[in-house]
Amino acid sequence: MRTKQLSVAVAAVATLALTATACNSGSSGSSDMKVGLSVSTLNNPFFVQLKAGAQAEAKKEGVSLTVTDAQNDASQQSNQIQNFTSQNVKSMIINPVDSDAAGPAVKAANNANIPVVAADRTVNKADVATTVASDNVEGGKLAAKTIAEAIGGKGTILVLQGTTGTSAANERGKGFTEGLKAYPGIKVVASQPADFDRTKGLDVTTNLLQAHPGVNGVFAQNDEMALGAIKALGSKAGKSVKVVGFDGTPDGLTAVKDGTLLASVAQQPKLLGELAVQNAVKAAKGEKIDATVKVPVKVVTKDNVAGFAG
């Protein structure tokens, strides 16, 4: 008897708590159009900014945007997409945890005739209205060019790879390798994973400097790892060793201002979020949109960092 009462009480409290949080994060507009956004993870400033851009645009367009966080779990994301489908959203934006794993759930949305916009990463084996993404390969090439010119076309460099197997790590690495082909005097002496993580960037760079103390440059496939590398380099960062990062996060841009980070190939996560919502709204209205929307990347250096707002 007592346990029963207790469980009723617990259920009541849980419901209250859920309602409270729902009110907190819920709809940002009052119109009829409901749009869903499933973000891969909010455990990363990049996607937090993507979400902020999407919410701002939704407010501007007067649509009600529901944001869910998949916490980097592909199966959780597929549940969220199913929930969007059953909530009858007019269109949805998915920022896939995994391009392949998102396929089946998006297919179900296709069957329900709900247009899906892929953001930042593509969805495989299902139809999307459009893919809004940064050009990672181009960004890798630009990073190679920037670092090569800064060290005068010859020398040795380290590469810090992102999480192995992710498309961002693959594409940035591919672009960087292609870009370096134009500079035969530059040699990559070590290419090691640091999982897009600042602490790992610090540890891996410290270890690599032990084996290769005389390097001229470091290319990190995101700013977090670049900031770790800068910590490891200490006073050498920005002087005898040039570091180039990727993403243009607020902390990365501060390091560019300080001169420790030579450049960050900036994606524009807020713009990415805005464009995703714009295209989702167009798709919901049945307007024609391009199959891919490329969000431009930009090399941010000390010269232009002042005018760059992420």
Binding site: T164, Q192, R198, T199, D203, T206, N207, Q210, P250
Partner: protein, 324 residues
């Protein structure tokens, strides 16, 4: 015990004593074998600077693992330490940088946060009768979530005075290593010399017998998880001070490294067995491995395979030795 043997041995007896020490301790043998192998494979491994680097890189895992040792010795498990570390560091940075509180208050708040998280887990286990796995799994999620809520998902700059914890004394002696040694000594003293430590072994050996012999098991469990939470807070502060920035997503998955370090160090997941020195060796094995794989430029795909194999081998050496 091992040092006693060394002291009493004469010059001629030194080699057998060393051999006995290695044979008595599977994890230490594994660490020595690994270190010797690394020094043959890479000329850069055995440099003083590199060995100090290994110490720094082991520090955070070791401090977390010391806290988890208390829990595992008493036959529990704590999955929340990585999240609690991130939460404590975030609380410190937020209260000092965003709220402008004095740094010492912020440090106390951070330590308090860690201990409070541990107390909540402990209360859920003792009084809510939740299995430790579930209670601390819940805390893993809550801790990470609160860190994100407080920081709004973005890193917060760490106060400079605390960030000194992440640097060196005199340009070469890394503070994280000193903190690791201090926390290790505290762990050894608690386990071997205090009432709380003795009750941990008793509860881990046989909880019912411990209760019948008059130990207040429920209250001791609160102490155990609070200690683990407090250690996690220290680890979080050291981690964030190395980067001079508190990151809500820091220490992600570190609970597994911590548990691995404790078990590699010879503790038993069924409780009653475990030592501070073993845990330190376990953490060092993991750090030597990651450092060596970088020095040897092993491919990203293979690194995870190698780490898994070495963890299994290290524990296997220990179990085989016990059986013999």
């Amino acid at each position: 015990m091992a040092t006693d043997t060394l002291k009493s041995s004469t010059d001629t007896g030194r080699a057998p004593a060393l051999r006995r020490m290695l044979l008595d301790n599977g994890a230490l043998t594994a660490l020595v074998v690994l270190a010797v192998a690394m020094s043959f494979l890479s000329g850069d491994f055995l440099a003083t600077q590199n060995l100090l680097n290994v110490g720094v890189q082991a520090a955070v895992t070791a401090i977390l693992a010391f806290g988890v040792t208390f829990v595992i010795v008493s036959a529990g498990i704590d999955l929340s330490v990585g999240s609690v570390a991130a939460l404590s560091a975030t609380v410190l940075a937020w209260s000092a940088t965003n709220q402008g509180l004095p740094v010492w208050v912020a440090v106390l708040l951070a330590l308090g946060t860690g201990i409070a998280c541990g107390l909540v887990s402990g209360a859920l286990i003792s009084f809510g009768k939740l299995p430790p796995f579930i209670a601390t799994l819940a805390m893993l999620s809550v801790g990470r979530g609160l860190a994100l809520v407080i920081s709004q998902g973005s890193p917060i700059a760490f106060p400079d005075s605390v960030s000194k914890l992440g640097t060196t004394i005199g340009g070469w002696l890394p503070v994280p290593v000193l903190v690791m040694i201090a926390m290790g000594l505290i762990t050894a003293v608690v386990l071997n010399r205090t009432y709380a430590g003795r009750t941990m072994y008793a509860i881990g050996g046989n909880e019912e017998a411990a209760r019948l012999s008059g130990i207040r098991v429920k209250r001791q469990k609160l102490v155990i998880y609070a200690l683990a939470g407090g250690f996690a807070a220290v680890a979080g502060i050291v981690l964030a001070s190395r980067l001079a920035s508190a990151q809500p997503q820091a220490a992600y998955g570190y609970e597994l490294d911590a548990i691995a370090a404790v078990v590699i160090g010879g503790a038993s997941l069924s409780g009653g067995v475990g030592k501070a020195s073993g845990t330190l060796i376990g953490a060092l094995i993991l750090a030597v491995l990651r450092n060596g794989l970088n020095l040897l430029s092993v491919s990203a795909f293979w690194q995870q395979v190698v780490i898994g194999v070495v963890i299994a081998l290290a524990v296997l050496v220990d179990t085989l030795r016990r059986r013999a």
